[in-house]
Amino acid sequence: MNFELSIEQKEMKDMAMKFSRNELIPVAQKYDEEGTFPMEEFKKAWELGLVNTCIPAEYGGAGFSETDAVMIGETLAYGCMGINTSFMANDLALLPIKIAGTHEQKEKFLKPFTEEFKIASFCLTEPGNGSDAAGIKTSIKDGGDHWIINGEKMWITNAGYADQFVVYGTIDPTLKHKGISAVVVPGGTEGIILGKKEDKMGHRSSDTRGIRFENVKVPKENMLGAPGEGWLIAMKTLDYSRPLVASAALGGAQRALDESVKYAKERKQFGVEIAKHQAIQFMIADMSMKVEASRLLVYKAAWLVDEGQRNTEIASYAKAFASDSCMQITTDAVQLFGGYGYSKEYPVEKLMRDAKLIQIYEGTSQIQRLVIAREVLKK
């Protein structure tokens, strides 16, 4: 057993934190207000190796472990959960290629992301199918030497800027999840029609929109795995992506805790710092406990991946617990700040708005509980 980060990991975390403090925190509010895409920060983060952390060394990546990736994700989300969503979406869209791609596909679809700045987007959810992912209707038809994609996707992160999409569809809806397949679609392919950017409660800088595929043709070699293996690929992807998404909740929660502690030591009521009042101390203690418990779950979920062990159950613990805790902690932070907490002059109201989404995307907290119950009951 060892709970210590290595020297290099500590350095990476320090560096990522420096980036968060210097480059993300100062602009987070502006992007939130304007709802614009953090292109400049994205590029800077890419130059420093902070994004696309899933790309293996043999395809030009840094060769980070899943533990490294969640540590970096946590630290970037500390700076801004919304901006981190744009960064993280790249990994979510590259993971299926890392997991199921052939050597040629990895050369073609992963490596370019290490050579120049590119944006990727993952298209699974549809207007009628969110949690019920197996019911997707987008069709992938055999067109001879190519696949033809038709359908509509919803809540697609980075869609407006993506250089590459991974699109899930079905070769035959009657096969249910056994018909689901995944294809890589280059950005700008004819027939991709972007919807308008969603005006969201939080994560306002991340580019989320609907997207329509109208007779979009891609070469046969762009399919990941065999036709019908998409569901399996998606499930495996979740084992990697859930710790990552959970790490974003952890970063946001840590930020809310730090802001609260700082404020509690500065703000005076009844002649003393509010940190001296027991009611506040209890809140701080609860926040602090939950942050640490989230961290242990998130890192364990990642560590299991690195150890080559099955992490489905723990990854769902991490995703549900960290995102629910983040919601609670950011809500408490607003409470602790009182009126100031409700004002946009202080950072905590944004944390609260941003926290909400993490309970929803990449498998809601309720879906995580279904997964957990299934895992526990089948033992």
Partner: protein
């Protein structure tokens, strides 16, 4: 009695005040002053009044412009025959720059940037801030003599009573030696203001300044009270003010008699740089901003409303 040489600089022909502060503290020691270049009879008289027994005017080639090597060489040649126990100077730009070189020529130690000192018998004991003033420590020197120290401007304060010395002025020929780093030109600063580290009054702006243009309201106030304008790290890092204006641990450490902090929350590293100011005024909209814990007079309010009124009030009493 220790024999002490004070290196003095001139500003527009006048001896810099820090020299007089040091002389005031040397009561009871044999104090002499060395100046590179010429100095008026009137200023010689002032130095005598404050306690200098001798005033040495060091003159020689290549000393018309400052250079660390030239000044260190010139003073080295002068000091080495003078059996001085101590050499003191103001912790000014030049003092901080060439005294380390000069001390090293004697393989001697230098106590930098002292904010106070005493002599116990013949022995110098300094006090100096470390960690940008988060800590104070006693500083003693050992090893070959003379021992060197620089003293922070404004820290000692002007002596309340003068202790006249003989005030005899004489010329000494000085050799600048071989100078490898040569000043080509001096680019004047846009402002004619006193440097932050020597300023008697400072008015600083923080993140709440929002942009470089808003510093104008601080400039206006500064021109009424003869202040130098400073900035917090947040303001500098946001590009509202140049790094040369930064007060704090990674900027300049200052100790003016009046420091007016406008829209500065008071991060620990800013407080470290200005906490030794004699009087601190803070203006901030946030009543809980840490700056108020250090302020003698805190005004909870919007700087954009308060500062213009402040400027007008200062005009009333000073105009």
């Amino acid at each position: 009695m220790a024999k002490v040489l004070v290196y003095s600089e001139l500003n527009k022909g006048n001896v810099k005040p820090v020299t007089l502060e040091i002389l005031g503290k040397l009561n009871g020691q044999d104090a002499e002053v060395a100046i590179i270049g010429d100095v008026s009879d009137e200023q010689v008289k002032v130095l005598g009044e404050y306690g200098a027994n001798k005033i040495h005017k060091l003159k020689g080639d290549k000393l018309d412009k400052y250079s660390p090597e030239g000044y260190a060489n010139a003073l080295h040649n002068f000091i080495k025959d003078g059996s001085y126990d101590y050499v003191l100077a103001g912790a000014t730009s030049a003092g901080k720059d060439f005294l380390p070189r000069l001390a090293t020529k004697f393989e001697a130690g230098l106590a930098s940037d002292c904010t106070n000192f005493i002599f116990e018998g013949d022995t110098f004991h300094g006090t100096r801030p470390l960690f940008a003033g988060k800590c104070l420590a006693k500083v003693d020197l050992q090893g070959p003599k003379p021992h060197f120290a620089t003293v922070r401007p404004n820290a000692l304060g002007m002596p309340e009573t003068k202790n006249a010395g003989a005030g005899e002025a004489s010329d000494a020929s000085a050799d600048a030696g071989d100078i490898k780093a040569i000043i080509k030109e001096i680019v004047a600063s846009a402002s004619e203001k006193v440097d932050l580290t020597e300023a008697n009054i400072i008015i600083s702006g923080g993140r709440a300044m929002k942009n470089p243009e808003n510093f104008k309201i601080l400039d206006e106030c500064a021109s009424v009270i003869g202040a130098t304008v400073g900035a917090s790290r947040a303001a500098v890092d946001s590009g509202f003010a140049p790094p040369s204006m930064q007060v704090g641990q990674t900027g300049k450490t200052v100790s003016p008699s009046l420091y007016i902090a406008c829209g500065i929350s008071g991060a620990i590293q800013h407080l470290a740089g200005m906490r030794t100011s004699k009087v601190i005024v803070a203006i901030n909209t946030d009543p809980d901003a840490p700056i108020f814990t250090k302020a003698d007079y805190g005004i909870v309010g919007d700087l954009y409303k308060i500062v213009p009124i402040l400027t007008e009030e200062f005009k009333k009493i000073l105009g």
